[in-house]
Symmetry: C2
Amino acid sequence: MSDTPKSFAERFAALRAERGPFCLNLDPTPGLLADWDLKDDIWGLRRFCDRVIDSADRQLAVIKPQSAYFERFGAAGFEVLADIIGSIHALGSLALLDGKRGDIGSTNSGYADGLLGPDSAMGADGLTVHAYLGFAALGPILERAQKLGCGIFPVVLSSNPEGRALQGARLPGGETVAQGLADEITTHNRSVAGDGVGPVGAVVGVTAPEAPSIVERLPSSLILAPGLGTQGGTFDDVATRLGSARQRVIPCAGRSVLSAGPDGDALARAIGEHCEAARKALT
Amino acid sequence: MSDTPKSFAERFAALRAERGPFCLNLDPTPGLLADWDLKDDIWGLRRFCDRVIDSADRQLAVIKPQSAYFERFGAAGFEVLADIIGSIHALGSLALLDGKRGDIGSTNSGYADGLLGPDSAMGADGLTVHAYLGFAALGPILERAQKLGCGIFPVVLSSNPEGRALQGARLPGGETVAQGLADEITTHNRSVAGDGVGPVGAVVGVTAPEAPSIVERLPSSLILAPGLGTQGGTFDDVATRLGSARQRVIPCAGRSVLSAGPDGDALARAIGEHCEAARKALT
Protein backbone atom coordinates (compact mmCIF):
# COMPACT_ATOMS: atom_id res chain seq x y z
CA MET A 1 0.00 0.00 0.00
CA SER A 2 3.02 2.29 0.36
CA ASP A 3 2.77 3.70 -3.15
CA THR A 4 -0.97 4.35 -3.00
CA PRO A 5 -1.38 8.09 -2.60
CA LYS A 6 -3.57 9.40 0.19
CA SER A 7 -7.10 10.00 -0.98
CA PHE A 8 -8.66 13.44 -1.37
CA ALA A 9 -10.96 12.58 1.53
CA GLU A 10 -8.06 11.61 3.81
CA ARG A 11 -6.16 14.75 2.93
CA PHE A 12 -9.26 16.87 3.49
CA ALA A 13 -9.91 15.24 6.87
CA ALA A 14 -6.37 16.06 8.03
CA LEU A 15 -6.61 19.66 6.84
CA ARG A 16 -10.07 20.04 8.34
CA ALA A 17 -8.73 19.05 11.77
CA GLU A 18 -6.01 21.65 11.48
CA ARG A 19 -7.66 24.49 9.53
CA GLY A 20 -11.41 23.88 9.52
CA PRO A 21 -13.42 22.81 6.47
CA PHE A 22 -13.84 26.12 4.63
CA CYS A 23 -13.15 26.31 0.90
CA LEU A 24 -12.45 29.65 -0.77
CA ASN A 25 -13.76 30.08 -4.31
CA LEU A 26 -11.02 31.68 -6.36
CA ASP A 27 -13.29 33.57 -8.78
CA PRO A 28 -11.40 36.33 -10.55
CA THR A 29 -14.50 37.83 -12.13
CA PRO A 30 -14.31 40.99 -14.26
CA GLY A 31 -16.29 42.75 -11.52
CA LEU A 32 -13.83 41.83 -8.77
CA LEU A 33 -10.83 42.78 -10.92
CA ALA A 34 -12.43 46.22 -11.37
CA ASP A 35 -13.22 46.50 -7.64
CA TRP A 36 -9.58 45.77 -6.90
CA ASP A 37 -8.42 48.43 -9.40
CA LEU A 38 -6.85 45.77 -11.59
CA LYS A 39 -6.95 45.72 -15.36
CA ASP A 40 -9.12 43.08 -16.98
CA ASP A 41 -6.13 41.40 -18.58
CA ILE A 42 -3.73 38.56 -17.93
CA TRP A 43 -1.61 40.68 -15.58
CA GLY A 44 -4.65 41.74 -13.61
CA LEU A 45 -5.66 38.09 -13.36
CA ARG A 46 -2.24 37.06 -12.11
CA ARG A 47 -2.00 39.89 -9.62
CA PHE A 48 -5.48 39.13 -8.27
CA CYS A 49 -4.63 35.48 -7.73
CA ASP A 50 -1.24 36.24 -6.18
CA ARG A 51 -2.88 38.59 -3.69
CA VAL A 52 -5.46 35.99 -2.72
CA ILE A 53 -2.71 33.41 -2.25
CA ASP A 54 -0.70 35.83 -0.08
CA SER A 55 -3.70 36.59 2.12
CA ALA A 56 -4.83 32.99 2.28
CA ASP A 57 -1.44 31.89 3.54
CA ARG A 58 -1.84 28.54 5.33
CA GLN A 59 -5.35 29.23 6.63
CA LEU A 60 -7.44 27.25 4.13
CA ALA A 61 -8.16 23.55 3.71
CA VAL A 62 -9.31 23.95 0.12
CA ILE A 63 -9.11 26.60 -2.60
CA LYS A 64 -11.42 26.24 -5.58
CA PRO A 65 -10.42 28.13 -8.74
CA GLN A 66 -13.23 28.60 -11.26
CA SER A 67 -11.87 27.53 -14.64
CA ALA A 68 -14.11 29.88 -16.65
CA TYR A 69 -12.40 32.98 -15.27
CA PHE A 70 -9.01 31.65 -16.36
CA GLU A 71 -10.23 30.36 -19.73
CA ARG A 72 -11.33 33.95 -20.44
CA PHE A 73 -7.67 34.60 -21.21
CA GLY A 74 -7.07 31.46 -23.29
CA ALA A 75 -3.75 29.64 -23.04
CA ALA A 76 -2.21 32.44 -20.97
CA GLY A 77 -5.04 32.08 -18.45
CA PHE A 78 -4.55 28.33 -18.32
CA GLU A 79 -0.89 28.97 -17.56
CA VAL A 80 -1.82 31.26 -14.65
CA LEU A 81 -4.24 28.59 -13.44
CA ALA A 82 -1.51 25.94 -13.40
CA ASP A 83 0.87 28.32 -11.59
CA ILE A 84 -1.78 29.19 -9.01
CA ILE A 85 -2.51 25.52 -8.38
CA GLY A 86 1.20 25.16 -7.66
CA SER A 87 0.95 28.08 -5.20
CA ILE A 88 -2.10 26.50 -3.56
CA HIS A 89 -0.08 23.33 -2.98
CA ALA A 90 2.80 25.36 -1.56
CA LEU A 91 0.34 26.57 1.12
CA GLY A 92 -0.53 22.97 1.93
CA SER A 93 -4.09 23.49 0.68
CA LEU A 94 -6.04 21.27 -1.71
CA ALA A 95 -6.76 22.66 -5.20
CA LEU A 96 -10.27 21.77 -6.33
CA LEU A 97 -10.78 22.88 -9.92
CA ASP A 98 -14.32 24.02 -10.67
CA GLY A 99 -14.39 23.12 -14.37
CA LYS A 100 -17.63 21.10 -14.60
CA ARG A 101 -16.19 18.86 -17.28
CA GLY A 102 -17.94 15.72 -18.45
CA ASP A 103 -18.16 13.61 -21.58
CA ILE A 104 -18.28 9.94 -22.49
CA GLY A 105 -15.65 7.24 -22.18
CA SER A 106 -12.16 7.97 -23.35
CA THR A 107 -12.78 11.71 -23.66
CA ASN A 108 -13.01 11.77 -19.88
CA SER A 109 -9.57 10.15 -19.74
CA GLY A 110 -8.35 13.19 -21.66
CA TYR A 111 -9.69 15.52 -18.99
CA ALA A 112 -8.20 13.36 -16.23
CA ASP A 113 -4.83 13.28 -18.02
CA GLY A 114 -4.69 17.04 -18.33
CA LEU A 115 -6.22 18.25 -15.13
CA LEU A 116 -5.81 15.75 -12.29
CA GLY A 117 -2.91 14.69 -10.16
CA PRO A 118 0.72 15.74 -9.73
CA ASP A 119 1.84 14.41 -13.13
CA SER A 120 -0.79 16.33 -15.09
CA ALA A 121 -0.30 19.72 -16.69
CA MET A 122 -2.78 21.33 -14.33
CA GLY A 123 -2.14 19.32 -11.18
CA ALA A 124 -5.54 19.73 -9.50
CA ASP A 125 -6.51 17.53 -6.54
CA GLY A 126 -10.19 17.55 -7.40
CA LEU A 127 -12.54 18.43 -10.23
CA THR A 128 -16.24 19.21 -10.52
CA VAL A 129 -18.04 17.32 -13.30
CA HIS A 130 -21.41 17.00 -15.04
CA ALA A 131 -23.23 13.67 -15.31
CA TYR A 132 -25.86 14.49 -17.97
CA LEU A 133 -24.40 11.66 -20.08
CA GLY A 134 -24.90 9.25 -17.18
CA PHE A 135 -22.81 8.66 -14.08
CA ALA A 136 -21.42 5.42 -15.51
CA ALA A 137 -20.07 7.30 -18.55
CA LEU A 138 -17.67 9.05 -16.16
CA GLY A 139 -15.97 5.70 -15.50
CA PRO A 140 -12.51 6.53 -16.88
CA ILE A 141 -12.26 9.77 -14.92
CA LEU A 142 -13.39 8.03 -11.71
CA GLU A 143 -10.81 5.28 -12.10
CA ARG A 144 -8.03 7.74 -12.75
CA ALA A 145 -9.06 9.93 -9.82
CA GLN A 146 -9.04 7.00 -7.44
CA LYS A 147 -5.63 5.85 -8.58
CA LEU A 148 -4.23 9.36 -8.15
CA GLY A 149 -5.91 10.11 -4.82
CA CYS A 150 -8.04 12.82 -6.41
CA GLY A 151 -11.67 13.75 -5.77
CA ILE A 152 -14.44 14.00 -8.37
CA PHE A 153 -17.49 16.11 -7.59
CA PRO A 154 -20.51 15.63 -9.86
CA VAL A 155 -23.14 18.34 -9.60
CA VAL A 156 -26.04 16.53 -7.91
CA LEU A 157 -28.36 19.27 -6.64
CA SER A 158 -27.95 22.96 -7.31
CA SER A 159 -29.51 25.86 -5.45
CA ASN A 160 -30.36 27.90 -8.55
CA PRO A 161 -34.08 27.70 -9.32
CA GLU A 162 -33.51 27.00 -13.05
CA GLY A 163 -32.01 23.62 -12.19
CA ARG A 164 -34.95 22.28 -10.23
CA ALA A 165 -37.07 20.82 -13.00
CA LEU A 166 -34.30 18.66 -14.48
CA GLN A 167 -32.81 17.61 -11.15
CA GLY A 168 -36.28 16.80 -9.81
CA ALA A 169 -37.45 14.78 -12.82
CA ARG A 170 -38.52 11.23 -11.96
CA LEU A 171 -36.65 8.07 -12.90
CA PRO A 172 -38.64 4.90 -13.61
CA GLY A 173 -38.29 3.75 -9.98
CA GLY A 174 -39.81 7.00 -8.71
CA GLU A 175 -36.69 8.66 -7.37
CA THR A 176 -35.57 12.03 -8.73
CA VAL A 177 -32.61 12.54 -11.06
CA ALA A 178 -30.64 14.02 -8.15
CA GLN A 179 -31.57 11.10 -5.88
CA GLY A 180 -30.66 8.56 -8.53
CA LEU A 181 -27.31 10.22 -9.11
CA ALA A 182 -26.66 10.30 -5.35
CA ASP A 183 -27.43 6.58 -5.13
CA GLU A 184 -25.10 5.78 -8.02
CA ILE A 185 -22.34 7.78 -6.34
CA THR A 186 -22.86 5.93 -3.08
CA THR A 187 -22.86 2.53 -4.78
CA HIS A 188 -19.63 3.44 -6.54
CA ASN A 189 -17.93 4.73 -3.39
CA ARG A 190 -18.90 1.61 -1.44
CA SER A 191 -17.52 -0.61 -4.17
CA VAL A 192 -14.13 1.09 -4.05
CA ALA A 193 -13.88 2.43 -0.50
CA GLY A 194 -16.01 0.10 1.60
CA ASP A 195 -17.22 1.94 4.70
CA GLY A 196 -14.85 4.86 4.18
CA VAL A 197 -15.34 8.12 2.34
CA GLY A 198 -14.92 7.40 -1.36
CA PRO A 199 -13.33 9.34 -4.23
CA VAL A 200 -16.64 10.64 -5.57
CA GLY A 201 -18.08 13.63 -3.75
CA ALA A 202 -21.12 15.66 -4.71
CA VAL A 203 -21.99 19.29 -5.30
CA VAL A 204 -25.10 20.06 -3.24
CA GLY A 205 -26.40 23.63 -3.00
CA VAL A 206 -27.00 24.50 0.66
CA THR A 207 -30.24 26.35 0.04
CA ALA A 208 -31.84 23.80 -2.31
CA PRO A 209 -35.03 22.53 -0.62
CA GLU A 210 -34.08 18.87 -1.09
CA ALA A 211 -30.50 19.33 0.15
CA PRO A 212 -31.00 17.64 3.56
CA SER A 213 -32.56 14.50 2.09
CA ILE A 214 -30.05 14.27 -0.78
CA VAL A 215 -27.15 14.44 1.64
CA GLU A 216 -28.58 11.48 3.56
CA ARG A 217 -28.25 9.42 0.39
CA LEU A 218 -24.56 10.35 0.18
CA PRO A 219 -23.10 8.80 3.34
CA SER A 220 -19.71 8.08 1.77
CA SER A 221 -19.18 11.35 -0.08
CA LEU A 222 -17.59 14.67 0.63
CA ILE A 223 -20.26 17.32 0.08
CA LEU A 224 -19.10 20.43 -1.73
CA ALA A 225 -21.63 23.02 -0.62
CA PRO A 226 -21.92 26.28 -2.55
CA GLY A 227 -24.68 28.76 -1.90
CA LEU A 228 -23.04 30.60 1.00
CA GLY A 229 -22.49 34.32 1.42
CA THR A 230 -23.77 36.36 -1.50
CA GLN A 231 -25.89 33.37 -2.52
CA GLY A 232 -27.80 33.61 0.74
CA GLY A 233 -26.75 30.68 2.95
CA THR A 234 -24.85 30.81 6.24
CA PHE A 235 -22.58 28.33 8.00
CA ASP A 236 -25.38 27.71 10.47
CA ASP A 237 -27.64 26.82 7.54
CA VAL A 238 -25.02 24.32 6.46
CA ALA A 239 -24.88 22.83 9.94
CA THR A 240 -28.66 22.69 10.24
CA ARG A 241 -29.50 21.55 6.74
CA LEU A 242 -26.59 19.24 5.98
CA GLY A 243 -26.01 18.12 9.55
CA SER A 244 -25.99 14.42 8.74
CA ALA A 245 -22.85 15.08 6.68
CA ARG A 246 -21.32 17.52 9.17
CA GLN A 247 -17.90 15.82 9.11
CA ARG A 248 -17.84 15.64 5.34
CA VAL A 249 -19.10 19.05 4.21
CA ILE A 250 -16.82 21.46 2.38
CA PRO A 251 -18.67 24.77 2.65
CA CYS A 252 -17.51 27.28 0.06
CA ALA A 253 -17.86 30.98 -0.66
CA GLY A 254 -16.15 33.44 -2.92
CA ARG A 255 -17.42 36.94 -3.48
CA SER A 256 -18.50 37.52 0.13
CA VAL A 257 -14.88 36.91 1.17
CA LEU A 258 -13.02 38.37 -1.80
CA SER A 259 -14.93 41.64 -1.56
CA ALA A 260 -12.85 42.33 1.58
CA GLY A 261 -9.89 42.94 -0.76
CA PRO A 262 -7.86 44.41 -2.31
CA ASP A 263 -6.29 45.29 1.06
CA GLY A 264 -4.21 42.23 1.94
CA ASP A 265 -4.69 42.42 5.70
CA ALA A 266 -8.44 42.89 5.42
CA LEU A 267 -8.66 39.96 3.03
CA ALA A 268 -6.52 37.78 5.29
CA ARG A 269 -8.81 38.63 8.20
CA ALA A 270 -11.96 37.87 6.18
CA ILE A 271 -10.53 34.49 5.20
CA GLY A 272 -9.59 33.77 8.81
CA GLU A 273 -13.05 34.71 10.03
CA HIS A 274 -14.68 32.41 7.49
CA CYS A 275 -12.37 29.53 8.47
CA GLU A 276 -13.19 30.09 12.12
CA ALA A 277 -16.94 30.40 11.52
CA ALA A 278 -16.98 27.23 9.41
CA ARG A 279 -15.02 25.35 12.06
CA LYS A 280 -17.35 26.53 14.82
CA ALA A 281 -20.52 25.68 12.94
CA LEU A 282 -19.38 22.31 11.66
CA THR A 283 -17.28 20.72 14.38
CA MET B 1 -28.29 45.49 -39.40
CA SER B 2 -24.94 45.92 -41.13
CA ASP B 3 -22.89 45.27 -38.02
CA THR B 4 -24.85 42.19 -36.95
CA PRO B 5 -22.62 39.22 -37.78
CA LYS B 6 -24.05 36.35 -39.78
CA SER B 7 -25.40 33.63 -37.54
CA PHE B 8 -23.79 30.22 -37.14
CA ALA B 9 -26.86 28.75 -38.87
CA GLU B 10 -26.55 31.11 -41.86
CA ARG B 11 -22.86 30.39 -42.19
CA PHE B 12 -23.48 26.65 -41.94
CA ALA B 13 -26.24 26.81 -44.60
CA ALA B 14 -23.89 28.55 -47.04
CA LEU B 15 -21.10 26.05 -46.39
CA ARG B 16 -23.49 23.14 -46.63
CA ALA B 17 -24.59 24.24 -50.10
CA GLU B 18 -20.97 24.37 -51.19
CA ARG B 19 -19.30 21.54 -49.27
CA GLY B 20 -22.05 19.35 -47.84
CA PRO B 21 -22.95 19.16 -44.13
CA PHE B 22 -20.22 16.84 -42.80
CA CYS B 23 -18.34 17.75 -39.63
CA LEU B 24 -14.98 16.18 -38.86
CA ASN B 25 -14.22 15.51 -35.19
CA LEU B 26 -10.67 16.63 -34.53
CA ASP B 27 -9.90 14.10 -31.78
CA PRO B 28 -6.14 13.78 -31.25
CA THR B 29 -6.46 10.80 -28.92
CA PRO B 30 -3.36 9.08 -27.51
CA GLY B 31 -4.32 6.04 -29.61
CA LEU B 32 -4.42 7.99 -32.87
CA LEU B 33 -1.13 9.76 -32.10
CA ALA B 34 0.45 6.33 -31.65
CA ASP B 35 -1.16 5.00 -34.85
CA TRP B 36 0.30 7.95 -36.72
CA ASP B 37 3.77 7.32 -35.24
CA LEU B 38 3.65 10.60 -33.37
CA LYS B 39 4.90 11.13 -29.84
CA ASP B 40 2.29 11.70 -27.18
CA ASP B 41 3.51 15.22 -26.50
CA ILE B 42 2.76 18.78 -27.51
CA TRP B 43 4.75 18.41 -30.75
CA GLY B 44 2.90 15.24 -31.66
CA LEU B 45 -0.39 17.02 -30.96
CA ARG B 46 0.56 19.96 -33.17
CA ARG B 47 1.80 17.76 -35.99
CA PHE B 48 -1.35 15.65 -35.88
CA CYS B 49 -3.59 18.70 -36.12
CA ASP B 50 -1.51 20.31 -38.86
CA ARG B 51 -1.77 17.15 -40.96
CA VAL B 52 -5.53 16.99 -40.52
CA ILE B 53 -5.80 20.64 -41.53
CA ASP B 54 -3.64 20.04 -44.62
CA SER B 55 -5.73 17.06 -45.70
CA ALA B 56 -9.02 18.75 -44.89
CA ASP B 57 -8.15 21.69 -47.10
CA ARG B 58 -11.38 23.46 -48.08
CA GLN B 59 -13.52 20.32 -48.14
CA LEU B 60 -15.31 20.62 -44.79
CA ALA B 61 -18.20 22.75 -43.58
CA VAL B 62 -17.36 22.21 -39.91
CA ILE B 63 -14.41 20.92 -37.90
CA LYS B 64 -15.03 20.02 -34.26
CA PRO B 65 -11.95 19.90 -32.01
CA GLN B 66 -12.46 17.98 -28.75
CA SER B 67 -11.17 20.21 -25.95
CA ALA B 68 -10.19 17.31 -23.66
CA TYR B 69 -7.45 16.14 -26.02
CA PHE B 70 -5.91 19.62 -26.02
CA GLU B 71 -6.36 20.17 -22.27
CA ARG B 72 -4.26 17.01 -21.79
CA PHE B 73 -1.28 19.26 -22.47
CA GLY B 74 -2.38 22.17 -20.29
CA ALA B 75 -1.70 25.75 -21.41
CA ALA B 76 0.47 24.54 -24.30
CA GLY B 77 -2.41 22.41 -25.56
CA PHE B 78 -4.80 25.35 -25.27
CA GLU B 79 -2.36 27.35 -27.39
CA VAL B 80 -2.35 24.67 -30.08
CA LEU B 81 -6.15 24.64 -29.93
CA ALA B 82 -6.34 28.39 -30.53
CA ASP B 83 -3.85 28.12 -33.40
CA ILE B 84 -5.79 25.27 -34.97
CA ILE B 85 -9.04 27.21 -34.73
CA GLY B 86 -7.26 29.95 -36.67
CA SER B 87 -6.23 27.37 -39.28
CA ILE B 88 -9.81 26.07 -39.47
CA HIS B 89 -10.99 29.60 -40.23
CA ALA B 90 -8.30 29.99 -42.88
CA LEU B 91 -9.91 27.01 -44.65
CA GLY B 92 -13.26 28.78 -44.55
CA SER B 93 -14.67 26.12 -42.20
CA LEU B 94 -16.57 26.66 -38.97
CA ALA B 95 -14.80 25.73 -35.71
CA LEU B 96 -17.18 24.05 -33.29
CA LEU B 97 -15.44 23.49 -29.96
CA ASP B 98 -16.55 20.32 -28.19
CA GLY B 99 -15.93 21.45 -24.62
CA LYS B 100 -19.26 20.63 -22.95
CA ARG B 101 -18.98 23.61 -20.63
CA GLY B 102 -21.84 24.75 -18.45
CA ASP B 103 -22.38 26.55 -15.16
CA ILE B 104 -24.70 29.15 -13.71
CA GLY B 105 -25.08 32.83 -14.52
CA SER B 106 -21.99 34.94 -14.80
CA THR B 107 -19.64 31.97 -14.87
CA ASN B 108 -21.09 31.18 -18.28
CA SER B 109 -20.15 34.70 -19.38
CA GLY B 110 -16.58 33.74 -18.52
CA TYR B 111 -16.72 30.75 -20.86
CA ALA B 112 -18.30 32.88 -23.59
CA ASP B 113 -15.63 35.59 -23.14
CA GLY B 114 -12.81 33.11 -23.47
CA LEU B 115 -14.03 30.69 -26.06
CA LEU B 116 -16.54 32.28 -28.43
CA GLY B 117 -16.24 34.72 -31.28
CA PRO B 118 -13.42 36.48 -33.13
CA ASP B 119 -12.45 38.71 -30.19
CA SER B 120 -12.04 35.83 -27.74
CA ALA B 121 -8.78 34.08 -26.95
CA MET B 122 -10.03 30.84 -28.50
CA GLY B 123 -12.16 32.20 -31.32
CA ALA B 124 -14.57 29.27 -31.73
CA ASP B 125 -17.76 29.68 -33.77
CA GLY B 126 -19.71 27.20 -31.69
CA LEU B 127 -19.54 25.38 -28.37
CA THR B 128 -21.17 22.28 -26.91
CA VAL B 129 -22.62 22.76 -23.40
CA HIS B 130 -24.32 20.88 -20.56
CA ALA B 131 -27.68 21.96 -19.15
CA TYR B 132 -27.79 19.97 -15.88
CA LEU B 133 -28.13 23.29 -14.02
CA GLY B 134 -31.16 24.15 -16.13
CA PHE B 135 -31.38 25.55 -19.66
CA ALA B 136 -32.29 29.00 -18.33
CA ALA B 137 -29.06 29.12 -16.30
CA LEU B 138 -27.19 29.21 -19.62
CA GLY B 139 -28.73 32.64 -20.33
CA PRO B 140 -25.53 34.71 -20.42
CA ILE B 141 -23.79 32.32 -22.81
CA LEU B 142 -26.84 32.24 -25.10
CA GLU B 143 -27.05 36.03 -25.23
CA ARG B 144 -23.38 36.36 -25.99
CA ALA B 145 -23.51 33.68 -28.66
CA GLN B 146 -26.40 35.35 -30.43
CA LYS B 147 -24.70 38.72 -30.41
CA LEU B 148 -21.52 37.20 -31.84
CA GLY B 149 -23.21 34.98 -34.43
CA CYS B 150 -22.05 31.84 -32.63
CA GLY B 151 -23.87 28.55 -32.06
CA ILE B 152 -24.48 26.84 -28.72
CA PHE B 153 -25.16 23.11 -28.68
CA PRO B 154 -26.55 21.67 -25.44
CA VAL B 155 -26.38 17.90 -25.16
CA VAL B 156 -30.02 16.86 -25.41
CA LEU B 157 -30.00 13.14 -26.18
CA SER B 158 -26.91 10.96 -26.28
CA SER B 159 -26.50 7.60 -27.90
CA ASN B 160 -24.50 6.03 -25.04
CA PRO B 161 -26.66 3.68 -22.98
CA GLU B 162 -25.48 5.15 -19.64
CA GLY B 163 -27.24 8.42 -20.45
CA ARG B 164 -30.68 6.98 -21.00
CA ALA B 165 -32.04 6.94 -17.45
CA LEU B 166 -31.32 10.61 -16.74
CA GLN B 167 -32.31 11.87 -20.17
CA GLY B 168 -35.49 9.78 -20.05
CA ALA B 169 -36.56 10.83 -16.55
CA ARG B 170 -40.02 12.43 -16.42
CA LEU B 171 -40.75 16.09 -15.73
CA PRO B 172 -43.96 17.00 -13.88
CA GLY B 173 -45.83 17.50 -17.18
CA GLY B 174 -44.95 13.95 -18.30
CA GLU B 175 -42.32 14.79 -20.92
CA THR B 176 -38.79 13.44 -20.57
CA VAL B 177 -35.78 15.54 -19.56
CA ALA B 178 -34.56 15.43 -23.17
CA GLN B 179 -37.99 16.45 -24.49
CA GLY B 180 -38.28 19.26 -21.96
CA LEU B 181 -34.83 20.55 -22.88
CA ALA B 182 -35.70 20.37 -26.58
CA ASP B 183 -38.88 22.38 -25.95
CA GLU B 184 -36.98 25.03 -23.99
CA ILE B 185 -34.46 25.32 -26.82
CA THR B 186 -37.23 25.74 -29.36
CA THR B 187 -39.02 28.35 -27.28
CA HIS B 188 -35.77 30.27 -26.93
CA ASN B 189 -34.92 30.07 -30.64
CA ARG B 190 -38.39 31.25 -31.62
CA SER B 191 -38.14 34.19 -29.25
CA VAL B 192 -34.89 35.37 -30.81
CA ALA B 193 -35.07 34.06 -34.39
CA GLY B 194 -38.78 33.86 -35.23
CA ASP B 195 -39.30 31.25 -37.91
CA GLY B 196 -35.61 30.97 -38.73
CA VAL B 197 -32.97 28.64 -37.37
CA GLY B 198 -31.90 30.02 -33.99
CA PRO B 199 -28.54 30.22 -32.22
CA VAL B 200 -29.20 27.20 -30.01
CA GLY B 201 -28.63 23.84 -31.63
CA ALA B 202 -28.74 20.43 -29.98
CA VAL B 203 -26.52 17.38 -29.70
CA VAL B 204 -28.64 14.34 -30.59
CA GLY B 205 -27.02 10.93 -30.92
CA VAL B 206 -28.07 9.34 -34.20
CA THR B 207 -28.56 5.88 -32.78
CA ALA B 208 -30.51 6.88 -29.63
CA PRO B 209 -33.95 5.26 -29.87
CA GLU B 210 -35.78 8.55 -29.21
CA ALA B 211 -33.70 10.55 -31.69
CA PRO B 212 -36.41 10.85 -34.39
CA SER B 213 -39.05 12.16 -32.01
CA ILE B 214 -36.65 14.52 -30.22
CA VAL B 215 -35.59 16.06 -33.51
CA GLU B 216 -39.23 16.82 -34.31
CA ARG B 217 -39.34 18.98 -31.19
CA LEU B 218 -36.33 20.96 -32.45
CA PRO B 219 -37.66 22.59 -35.64
CA SER B 220 -35.51 25.71 -35.31
CA SER B 221 -32.22 24.08 -34.27
CA LEU B 222 -29.16 22.78 -36.00
CA ILE B 223 -28.77 19.15 -34.95
CA LEU B 224 -25.21 18.07 -34.18
CA ALA B 225 -25.34 14.32 -34.71
CA PRO B 226 -22.54 12.16 -33.33
CA GLY B 227 -22.73 8.40 -33.33
CA LEU B 228 -21.46 7.83 -36.87
CA GLY B 229 -18.68 5.54 -38.04
CA THR B 230 -17.00 3.69 -35.20
CA GLN B 231 -20.03 4.44 -33.05
CA GLY B 232 -22.23 2.42 -35.42
CA GLY B 233 -24.39 4.85 -37.36
CA THR B 234 -24.30 5.59 -41.11
CA PHE B 235 -25.28 8.65 -43.14
CA ASP B 236 -28.31 6.71 -44.34
CA ASP B 237 -29.29 6.20 -40.70
CA VAL B 238 -29.05 9.96 -40.23
CA ALA B 239 -31.25 10.55 -43.27
CA THR B 240 -33.78 7.93 -42.18
CA ARG B 241 -33.87 8.68 -38.48
CA LEU B 242 -33.41 12.46 -38.44
CA GLY B 243 -35.11 13.09 -41.76
CA SER B 244 -37.42 15.80 -40.46
CA ALA B 245 -34.28 17.86 -39.78
CA ARG B 246 -32.51 16.87 -43.00
CA GLN B 247 -31.55 20.46 -43.90
CA ARG B 248 -30.29 21.20 -40.41
CA VAL B 249 -28.29 18.11 -39.45
CA ILE B 250 -24.54 18.33 -38.95
CA PRO B 251 -23.46 14.67 -39.04
CA CYS B 252 -20.06 14.16 -37.46
CA ALA B 253 -17.43 11.45 -37.26
CA GLY B 254 -13.82 11.29 -36.17
CA ARG B 255 -11.97 8.05 -35.73
CA SER B 256 -13.50 6.32 -38.77
CA VAL B 257 -12.06 9.14 -40.92
CA LEU B 258 -8.83 9.88 -39.05
CA SER B 259 -7.82 6.22 -39.11
CA ALA B 260 -7.15 6.71 -42.85
CA GLY B 261 -4.05 8.73 -41.83
CA PRO B 262 -1.23 9.41 -41.37
CA ASP B 263 -0.85 9.36 -45.16
CA GLY B 264 -2.02 12.82 -46.24
CA ASP B 265 -3.54 11.75 -49.56
CA ALA B 266 -5.40 8.83 -48.04
CA LEU B 267 -6.75 11.09 -45.30
CA ALA B 268 -7.78 13.77 -47.81
CA ARG B 269 -9.61 11.09 -49.81
CA ALA B 270 -11.38 9.73 -46.72
CA ILE B 271 -12.51 13.24 -45.78
CA GLY B 272 -13.74 13.85 -49.33
CA GLU B 273 -15.63 10.57 -49.37
CA HIS B 274 -17.36 11.43 -46.11
CA CYS B 275 -18.29 14.89 -47.38
CA GLU B 276 -19.71 13.35 -50.55
CA ALA B 277 -21.60 10.61 -48.71
CA ALA B 278 -23.09 13.11 -46.26
CA ARG B 279 -24.14 15.39 -49.11
CA LYS B 280 -25.74 12.49 -51.00
CA ALA B 281 -27.63 11.15 -48.01
CA LEU B 282 -28.82 14.51 -46.71
CA THR B 283 -29.60 16.69 -49.73
